[in-house]
């Protein structure tokens, strides 16, 4: 069985209630509203961050695709260069053999 509180305890608790009511304002609904506002704000922040994440992730994917494209481009350039070089030699040899 709980011990009976003293008048002093009751007065202190009543004072604390009054202090909190002052903070909240005339409507206790404000507590709930504040909580709802907080959750809504958090969800909005989460949504915004997720939206940012979609783009960030896409950038990472594109960076990989770009790296692959650069590798292919580099390879293509080497292939073309080698083709031209070997072709040039062949042409020179063929022209020489005709002239000599």
């Amino acid at each position: 069985m709980p011990e009976p509180r003293s008048d002093g305890d009751v007065a202190a608790l009543q004072a604390e209630i009054d202090r909190l009511r002052t903070l909240v304002g005339p409507s206790e609904q404000s507590y709930v509203d504040l909580r709802v506002d907080l959750l809504a704000a958090r969800d909005a922040a989460k949504g915004a961050e997720a939206g940012e994440g979609v783009y960030r992730g896409r950038v990472i994917e594109l960076e990989v695709a770009l790296a692959r494209a650069r590798q292919d481009q580099d390879h293509f350039q080497r292939a073309v260069f080698n083709t031209i070089r070997s072709g040039r030699h062949r042409i020179i040899r063929a022209v020489r053999s005709r002239l000599l």
């Binding site: 994440g53 992730g57 990472i60 590798q71 070997s86 042409i91």
Partner: protein, 557 residues
């Protein structure tokens, strides 16, 4: 004399040039010890018979069998198998092409203890160029349940093909997946040859182009995986996923053992999504509120500096399920985890960072389900940053220690064509930020290394597990947020890297679940230079060579 290889090809109305390329690719093998069994599955194009007859007439190693009625790929392949005499069976589709050294390389791979071997492959585009190489992992049974990553080029010992019953009817479109599942169930060894030995022709109605053409192939795949699960004793339901050709194996839980969630913490708070949260409290709250698995115990290993209010909040939240363990020594993640394991009551230990929040409610069930499979000791989860991008998709140890596809979109299947983020698969390691392990395995390897207080402790832990013969699986179906800073630069304690490098030098440079054709020090499956398909450009006609040749002819003629 019996040939080493029997190459089986079922033919039904291919394009003439494709069939001729296919036949030529076998004829031009550097290894001569083969026979090519070709089944004409009642082709209606009259030239098919002519082409095949000519091939058989020109080379005695080519044997042609003609079916009177079209029976489909499975019946035709079975007919081919019936007349094959080789020690090793190789499968080749009628429009695909083998690399010249394909049989030679496979012959080397098929040692005495290897019954099945497969190679990497790429696609042969309509313009004749090679593209989209599949650089595959070494044998990964969990992954094979989630997708047929092996496909081509597949070679199996004849005796094993016979033992598993050969090709089965009823799985057309996924008959290769069904076969490879049955083969690998009973193979003594499965070898992977990391060379592109097979060029898979990409035709408009091929499965390689779009699943819209053959949805029934993936439905047959579901049945093949379900049958496999039944054979190997996995009680599960198999589902198609949103990613074509990828399946989800939803395991039935035989029991609901107590899972001890071990969380090391300092009781710190931080701002996430614009609001302040006390990490450990919110991590546990998310498990209590969202998880559908109820048999949880929370072992919180807290530093002495942890505020009393945090501990009180934990007591209110978890009640009798909470075990508080004070840690009064200098910070050492490994030591805290080991201490937590000592105080845990469950046979399963869920290692969880305090800066996490559960996303998928059935995550714990998914993890527990995997630990029912013999040989699997540790299962890791998919972790997302607060912006939804990927924080953890399994570890990759390939000339660096990395998280797979770090910062990729959280819903991405991962790089094509293998899509590692869409499937459950074996990994070299997983992060201990959210992973479930058997207590027995934890104790077997001595827990985490206290020599590594900050970094690489999970790497060492995972490599010890694998060295002890256990498998480690990563699953995308168990999912948490991990509020680790994206920009965090790991602060290395003195000697940490030297320790891991000295102990595991080979293992951290050679990841069997990655591929040597991929770029080192990355974890996004980017091919090494000149291995992304571009080399095929060299096989195109050389204009300069032709010009030079003509000039030369003119000069000498």
């Amino acid at each position: 004399m019996t040939p080493r290889f029997s190459v089986l090809t079922a033919v039904h109305n291919p394009e003439r040039s494709h069939l001729e390329e296919c036949l030529a690719s076998v004829r031009n093998q550097t290894l001569a010890d083969w026979e090519h069994i070709i089944i004409d599955d009642a082709s209606t194009h009259p030239w098919v018979s002519d082409v095949l007859d000519r091939a058989a007439a020109n080379d005695p190693r080519v044997r042609v069998v003609k079916r009177v009625e079209n029976g489909g790929i499975t019946a035709a392949s079975s007919d081919a198998l019936a007349v094959a005499t080789g020690e090793l069976i190789a499968l080749l589709d009628h429009d695909d092409v083998l690399a010249p050294n394909a049989l030679d390389a496979m012959s080397s791979a098929c040692t005495d203890l290897v019954d099945v071997a497969y190679s990497d492959h790429d696609l042969l585009r309509p313009d004749g160029r090679y593209a989209v190489p599949s650089f595959k992992p070494d044998f990964s049974p969990e992954r094979l349940r989630s997708q047929n990553y092996i496909t081509h080029f597949l070679v199996a010992r004849r005796s094993l093909v016979d033992a598993v019953g050969g090709f089965r009817p009823g799985f057309d479109g996924a008959q290769d997946h069904d076969l490879v599942l049955r083969l690998t169930e009973r193979a003594r060894g499965v070898a992977h040859v990391p060379i592109v030995l097979y060029h898979w022709r990409q035709s408009p109605d091929s499965v390689t182009t779009s699943s819209d053409n053959k949805p029934w192939a993936f439905e047959a795949g579901v049945r093949a995986v379900a049958d496999h699960c039944a054979r190997v004793g996995i009680a599960a339901t198999v589902e198609l996923t949103e990613h074509e050709g990828c399946y989800r194996v939803v395991r039935d839980l035989r029991s609901h053992p107590l899972v001890s969630v071990i969380i090391p913490t300092r009781g710190s708070a931080g701002r996430v999504w614009g609001a302040t949260r006390v990490f450990v409290v919110d991590a546990i709250q998310s498990l209590i509120e969202k998880s559908t698995y109820r048999e949880l115990e929370f072992v919180v290993v807290y530093d002495s500096v942890t505020p009393d209010a945090v501990l009180e909040a934990l007591r209110r939240l978890a009640g009798e399920r909470l075990v508080l363990v004070e840690y009064d020594r200098p910070f050492n993640f490994s030591d805290k985890m080991n201490l937590g394991a000592v105080h845990a009551s469950g046979d399963l230990l869920l290692m969880l960072n305090d800066d996490t929040e559960l996303i998928a409610p059935d995550s714990v069930e998914v993890l527990v389900g995997h630990l029912q499979t013999p040989g699997v000791a540790l299962v890791g989860s998919k972790l997302l940053f607060s912006d939804g991008t990927l924080q953890h998709g399994g570890h990759v140890y390939y000339h660096d220690l990395r998280h797979a596809c770090l910062s990729w979109p959280g819903d991405s299947p991962g790089p094509w064509p293998l899509r590692p983020l869409a499937v459950e698969r074996e990994c070299s390691g997983v992060t201990a930020a959210a992973a479930l392990i058997h207590r027995s395995a934890f104790e077997e390897v001595g827990g985490f290394p206290t020599e590594l207080p900050l970094n690489f402790n999970d790497v060492d832990f995972c490599l010890k597990l694998r060295a002890a013969g256990h498998r480690i699986v990563w699953t995308p179906w168990a999912c948490w947020y991990h509020f680790e800073s994206r920009t965090r630069i790991p602060e290395l304690a003195p000697g940490e890297y030297e320790f891991i490098n000295e102990r595991w030098h080979y293992a951290i440079n050679n990841d069997p679940y990655y591929n040597m054709n991929l770029e080192p020090s990355r974890s996004d499956w980017l091919e090494r230079p000149m291995r992304s398909g571009a080399p095929a450009i060299e096989s195109r006609p050389n204009a300069f060579r032709r010009i030079g040749s003509r000039l030369k002819q003119g000069g000498t003629g």
